[in-house]
Amino acid sequence: MKPLRLLHALVPTALLVGIVAPVLPTAHFGPVPGAVARALLLVSIKQSWAMYAPDPQRAHTYMELEALYPDGSTAPLEESVDVERGWGTTWAWRKTRMDIWRFYANFHPARRNDNRTWYLRLVCVREARRGEPPRKITMHQVKRRFTPPAKVAAGAPGLRDPVRQLVTVAYCNASPAREMIEADRRLNPELHDHG
């Protein structure tokens, strides 16, 4: 066999390993699936396909953010709009990619979630661009369960009543949110020009 042919055959073989290895069960294949998955993640390739697994969502959750300002006043932030209006329908033109981040930030309300931590720091910077940065941001979650089809067929509403719970509090005057705001003022002074 010519070496060039062998080299050529290695290309699809390596790609095949990249496709199949990450979905193999770790119980049988040890650290190999994880190692391949981590290597692929460097270039943002994920081969984990847990769509609607093990079950589709049976409840949906939106975040509700409230800012507390240094003068003691409070105000709901833009995320809270979903709590009021997010229970109808969704079409592509109403979605932004930030909705996806918010979705991830809502995972595991009782556990540490880095996606949430960074999202709330990002909100501190965003709010600082709009005026006085909040001293702290309180995050609640509002969850509505989906009613089982048998009960809906019997006349129950499709969504159950909302349940609200406290998730976390983020401090915009603590590190690193404070440094992020300072750096943003240096880099993007025009975005902090509140007239």
Partner: protein
């Protein structure tokens, strides 16, 4: 040298030679045999059209998502997403990020029409890696499939058929592994998805489709009462969908065996029932739910199941239809 000595030396050598020839033949049949590039060209056009459309939905928010105009920027962006690489971790000026994005759009268009296909595909891929790496939380599962398909097509000679490059240099064959890997990618996605759907809504009360359709996060229609009334139909469909997904890898394996055997008549061609179901399912998903570009992307990859002959016939038929439509008004005038 005696005959026995010659046998002793020639024996293992002969065996090795034979093994080498057998291995070479297997590699040829499975991966390396050349085929007409038309089917792969069709996949390129369809997939890159979806990638381009998806890319263009970023217009207007490029600086906000990927440059230092983003609220999450600089060292903190790198700290937030340490497991990724991205050009935009180092190039952060908003104008530079926008310029790279514009270059990426041009690269997508060149890749789509198949001009300078190789370099254009690498530039397009680098842009996706950089966007996904810089802000991975802006991307969800449909984007994950986009990234996988973008990578696979980038390493394939996808511009050799149905392209401006092919018009210039003439069509050149492509290895069969290209289409086969695309099929394997679909199989891995569907079967892994099917196997992981182990919950009660899929296997006990069969309410999974109902719950998917009523989720306000991505439903197109607020019609829980209607869907609840259709549970007699959605229940069996739930079971069929999960089994169809789980068995998709078996279908691809059977399809590969059929191809390796030279598509004998006695071996049933399962493509039309299996992929036909897939087309209906994805059209249903696209109609009922917001799933970004997921359905168009998956259906684009279905072109990989066309043989080159079928792809050529499909293109010829499309040309005839277009020519006919183009001619008709003239004859009427």
């Amino acid at each position: 040298m005696t005959t026995a000595e010659r046998r002793g030396r020639g024996g293992p050598g002969r065996h090795l030679g034979r093994i080498d020839r057998i291995l070479d033949r297997i590699l040829d049949r499975v991966w390396l045999a050349p085929e007409d590039p038309t089917a792969l060209g069709l996949v390129r056009i369809a997939v890159v059209a979806v990638l381009t459309a998806s890319l263009l939905t970023h217009v207007g928010a490029v600086s906000e998502y990927f440059s230092h105009a983003s609220p999450l920027q600089g060292e903190w962006a790198r700290e937030a997403f340490p497991s990724r690489v991205s050009l935009f971790f180092w190039i952060e000026q908003p104008w530079a990020v926008r310029a790279i994005f514009a270059l990426g759009v041009v690269a997508h268009l060149l890749w789509l029409v198949g001009r300078f296909t190789g370099p254009a595909s690498v530039v397009a891929w680098l842009l996706w890696v950089s966007m996904s790496g810089r802000s991975p939380l802006l991307y969800s599962l449909p984007d994950q499939l986009q990234m996988a398909m973008c990578t696979l097509l980038m390493v394939m000679p996808s511009g050799r058929g149905v392209s401006l490059d092919a018009r210039r240099h003439g069509p050149r064959p492509v290895p069969v592994w290209c289409r086969r890997l695309l099929m394997i990618q679909l199989a891995a996605m569907y079967t892994a998805t099917g196997v992981l759907k182990s919950g009660a809504t899929w296997h006990r009360d069969h309410t999974a489709l109902y719950y998917s359709l009523v989720n306000p996060y991505n439903r197109h229609f607020d019609a829980a009462e209607l869907f609840a009334g259709l549970q007699w139909m959605l229940g069996p469909m739930t079971a069929v969908v999960v089994w169809w997904e789980t068995l998709f890898a078996a279908f691809v394996a059977l399809h590969a065996v059929r191809s390796l055997l030279g598509r004998p008549r006695w071996f049933p061609d399962l493509r039309w029932p299996v992929l036909g179901f897939g087309v209906l399912m994805h059209l249903g998903i696209q109609g009922a739910l917001y799933v970004a570009w997921f359905s168009p992307l998956v259906l684009s990859v279905y072109f990989a199941f066309l043989t080159p002959d079928e792809a050529r016939r499909a293109i010829a038929r499309t040309r005839v239809i277009f020519a006919h439509r183009h001619r008709r008004p003239r004859s009427g005038s």
